[in-house]
Symmetry: C2
Subunit: 125 residues, 2 copies
DNA sequence: GCAATAGGGGAAAAACTTATCCCTATATGA
DNA sequence: TCATATAGGGATAAGTTTTTCCCCTATTGC
């Protein structure tokens, strides 16, 4: 596994939440697990843009941070289910707030993101 | 400047907010600007762990995303002040929710983050 | 035997972010 | 004249994350 070379900043609260929530797909993983998509293959289908590998890695990190638990059923073919811990559940309202804000401002967000991405043809002051 | 090679995912709301809020220091920049620290040098003093360079870059991105405005005073030595736009201000409650959650769970967060970071001496199942 | 399904992981490359170093310019003060 | 404060940018290096590719287990079905 990759080993960090810089010490994480843990000064303020915003550093702390950053540590557990950073990762391109983590917020969505938590969200979908909360919605009932528990098995790795289900989550992969819900987030097709992410590689299988990364989802595994990020799920493992969420597990290490005690936000989700992983239950392995001893069957063949193997079956695994993730669930939110009580701790993980406390994050759901926060994620909901993020989601609600983006939904409210969806159009504008798309505008400013695309304006920046798609190269600057029309540069309006 | 750096040019993206992968298209951003803009499927769901959580993608959108990710686009404008990702960046190691962005949330704190917004927070401190909201608290009244407006000048680049002030912000750098508030966030000493970040390099001057990155703060400039991330401030510029926040500006491109219309979350902050930059006002340049034509004086010497130069003076610049950032302010939240109306759009940016709508994000403050969301950031407050993030901060509140981390504050409520600060001890536990430090635990799980450090347990993971400081190498695994005691591996408890 | 081979493919599909369900889970996982190592190695390396590509992509992306952040840090470091050095440069511009002006006014003030030593 | 030189250092400092102010604001910013380019080039490059270092660090980190994500993707890609390939391999492994075991069973069912063809």
């Amino acid at each position: 596994m990759y080993e960090r070379k810089t010490i994480p900043n843990l000064n303020c609260g915003l550093d702390l939440i950053g540590e557990v929530l950073y990762g391109k797909w983590k917020i969505r993983l938590l969200w979908f697990i909360n919605e009932g998509y528990k098995r790795p293959s289900e989550l992969q289908r819900k987030i097709p843009d992410a590689s299988r590998r990364v989802l595994n890695i990020q799920l493992k990190e969420l597990e290490e941070h005690e936000l989700v638990t992983r239950k392995i059923y001893p069957v063949v073919p193997p079956k695994v289910e993730y669930s939110l811990t009580e701790f993980g559940k406390t994050l759901i309202p926060v994620i909901a707030a993020l989601g609600q804000w983006s939904d409210e401002h969806e159009t504008r967000l798309r505008d400013v993101i695309l304006k920046q991405t798609v190269s600057s043809d029309s540069d309006n002051t």
